[in-house]
Symmetry: D3
Subunit: 237 residues, 6 copies
């Protein structure tokens, strides 16, 4: 029995509010249950120095938690003067995941930055961030296509992410904070609509797992991402 | 005629949502028109080293803008590795303002941090932050009093802040971004309910101003803060 | 009765030594009583990146205290690796104040940096810095005009700054360290010769103040700045 | 056909020199072909602040590349003043992997730091680091057991890591730099002797992959880690 | 012929103003010609953590140049966020030199920091700093002895420093900026009254030098330090 | 009697392995007894901004200790976010020393960086670094001459460095860690083949020294560097 009473393959409610803020080219507040992440897409007509002259664009991600998104207040990274290893790991993952479904040539010489700021955390912030960032990106690219700045759609498909884990020996989908902090294994899957995998990160915490366990987690992730793809579709209509 | 069509002494709509996030002891999303600031109060049972053994508490503020709170994306201070002078100036002002209505002895040996994170900016973020932070503080202190951790109310009164400015030669209340970026003078007032002043910061931008101008701005601020005090009262009821 | 025996509207002795150091285009050691600040103006034929191509110049300020300018040694900001919020606040104020009397178009595409280094502190360092920086700027600009690098005088008037405060309920002019550390309210005024105001920063410390108090402080500041304008005039003759 | 002429399931030569440096409690130079990593284990009788009083120890990892370990010189992180996201990600992985086979209670209140410094890089530096760090840790713990400082062996098993990838559509084992920089997918597996998994990190680079691909990579990793376990066994005998 | 017209073994005028600032326990403005360094000694009743419980004190130095002490403005180290290698090298030299004439046991558990801030630079700033710092230290220690805080004089002798160099093939004493920037070799000597050497740093710049050259520079340094010892004696009388 | 049993003028065994790593244009592992330093020369076709357009090249050095090169683990400078004063002092010395035997005009507009990474420390790391860096530089420059990128040999001679010290009143050559940590005086000499001096740094530690002592240390250094020159000659043949 899960603390939340959910079935092992049951996700939390997904809620998506597009246009949550007004300045960004794409802006989404995505919730997986009590986890709430504000994802904005900012289009800038400049590219990183190492890309100049290649006729390509860039998509990158940044991630942060508000200090009191969590149960106890965390210190502000800007005040400490550096981003934690965890933050950097997550923002590298966000950028890499989104780039795996974008044709950078078709994007043209511009950069889109996906800012994922966690307003409230209850487990699964990075997966909500990736899933919401895709929506913000989609909205921003739609505007570029409507304005004629981009001719061919650079987005090749939907991408979504979900966490799974082994809790008390049982594989479960979409861990909340209670489960996350006591899981034996914790995995994040980034999947592409249609059955391909962009990224698997599966980590033993208390106990280790085996091949069978890995596969069962992947199956759960496919269920979860199916739900997210449907919610994304509805949001960008 | 103001760009927004408001009268010179007319504030933007004030909107206050308490309990916007669930972990903080006090949590408020305050809006002055399109400016939206999330203010949370975090209570910690520890105090800064230089206060140890004095039997007093501490109240402090932190401030940040989400990178795309603004018209064009600003770079993330955590990524740059330092907070700007502007950020530091504002968070010093937030802390100082709130401390001016708190009896730190009555607070006891604990620290309350007011995190003010700007979700969307349209002028007046620091004044919305102070006004909202007071509500978050009030809610957090109420909980400490209900639980019996604090015996006597350490909050001595309400505090609110508002910006005023001289635009096209005319003193106006509660500048939005359009007015702020073209004002001749820009002033922030932090007022205490009952007619006392906690802070005045009045800066000439394009033109300078005189004693008469300063007084007219102060009168506008008194009108604006009157509105905010009423909204605060309603929010914490 | 003030600790120094001064009348409420009595400034400390102002002493100005021009040419205190030899390399800077303008160099002044200004003293307000025991507060001594070395102000130098450095002219550089380059401008900040964001001003390029606009045909304008820039005036900026930097501020620092020598570690043992104060009663007890403060740690060196260069060793700590960052400037305090207070330092940044002050140097932003210095730059803003001086720019309010300079026509940046007439200055041409060059930058003048006013370095204000506090040799000895006894209250009022930022106001002495602004008052002395104007003299250093005036001397440097005079040289640029003599050499023909500047055709029209970009300096539109004199600017001076002074602190006032409420001590034991009484408004007093030009606080020294003893008064500053026990004042109920502490205000810095930056005034322009002829009666205009560039900046007011008035902060409640122990007690708050009211409109009447603010006006009485402004009146004292006008007296103090009158004295400083006279001393500036004499120094740059 | 692989650039190196190796079969798809063929690892590079593993070479292990124990005692490469003399001061560390454990010291190993491990080579996977031309990739050479110096792994040292340092025992310190102190623990991180957040572990105090729990009767447990800690195992952590640090990672760095010498500037000219690579084809072109990389700038020194100490000179830049911060560690890259990649470095932090790798050192978090090293620590997490080793902790998954250590009983921190049995280790007692001491910390063992595994420093992994890449002397020469040719792909697979993080996996060589983890594999070598286990040996250094084993040697250091052996000394603590011989001296009687530790009563019961805190190391619960062997751990090894290997990279696999999909190159030209073909899953291959132990990528060198040439393969790594052109792979369609790149995966790092951290496996525990006996068939359990500690960590999977599988990332699509050019193309994405599917469940079948993931499983084929895992099978290769099991072959590779089998070889490494044998080499580890021989080295610590 | 030297640019300044001085004889090869002729120092610049030494000027020493004690009590230049009022807060420090020892305060000296020392000039070697146009080079002016403010040296202050600050006594603090605390010691570095690694000295605790040893019954010893500590003497350390810090060094900085005001931004416009030089011909062209240098950027402020506090603004850049780190001290240059040159600054660190010099402050390590100042501390080491002064400690070579202090019995740290006799000093007791307190720290004396010698802050050497260059007000104006014309070559030889580090040697003026060491020579002036000794005076500030002597004055501060005298006060500690007068107050009875120290029983036995911890200062074992005078220390002074001077630069010498080879210019146009000729060894010369006390280089000013013109000579310093064109010297073939540049040496700094820290000598103890009575003929002992604390430090020699002799560096080839354009050309190299030989044993004979080194000895000739040392002889000049002995002449120069003789003058400085006499000036120090007079200053602390 | 020295702890190592060596005669006062006896160096430790010098061992030089060229080609220790494969990517660098020059790569040397140099050992002075148990002190082992990896020196690599990296050639880059770019120069520092301040050299542009002068038709000259640049030679610079960087230095670092692996964290467990020493008896007890030192913290990693990249993790602390800054290089120590000692590190900066040493890398400035390495660069300056090598430049003293290089004609930068003949090198052409390219930079050679000598990275000196201490693998194991037992005293004399900076002198081993300089001596080894010269070999790496020589090898790299030979390649540039063979490829025709450089026409005339820019290296004007050999340079070597050695430490000497006064231990128990006796001048001795090439101090190991035991001697280094208890020496009365500690000197590093950088000598050029043929009898010229590039740098002398002689520091009193416990006791001071006199002119006679300095000369005796220099004589020992000449013996030591003679040995190193012979070893360098053999290594680059």
């Amino acid at each position: 029995m899960r603390p939340s009473g959910r079935a092992p393959d049951e996700m939390r409610a997904i809620d998506i509010q597009t246009g949550f803020t007004k300045h960004a080219e794409g802006s989404v507040l995505i919730s997986f249950g009590e986890t709430k992440v504000l994802c904005t897409a900012s289009v800038e007509e400049r590219i990183p120095p190492w890309l100049r002259g290649k006729g390509e664009g860039w998509v990158t991600g940044e991630y942060s938690m508000l200090p009191r998104a969590t149960h106890t207040r965390g210190s502000r990274e800007a005040a400490k003067g550096k981003q934690s290893g965890r933050t950097q790991e997550i923002q590298r993952l966000i950028g890499r995941s989104l780039r795996s479904v974008v044709d950078l040539k078709k994007l043209g010489e511009r950069q889109i930055t996906l800012d994922c700021d966690v307003i409230q955390a209850d487990g699964g912030t990075r997966t909500a961030a990736i899933s919401g960032a895709w929506i913000a990106l989609r909205i921003a690219v739609n505007k570029l296509m409507e304005s004629g700045d981009i001719k061919q759609d650079p987005i090749e498909g939907k991408i979504a992410a979900i966490s799974c884990g082994i809790c008390n020996g049982e594989p479960v989908l979409d861990l909340d904070y209670d489960e996350d902090s006591s899981a034996d294994a914790d995995a994040n899957f980034v999947l592409i609509e249609g059955g391909r995998i962009a990224e698997v990160q599966a980590t033993a915490e208390g106990a280790t797992y085996d091949e069978e366990g890995l596969l069962r987690l992947l199956r759960l992730a496919q269920i979860g991402c199916g739900n997210i793809f449907a919610a994304q579709e509805k949001a960008v209509k």
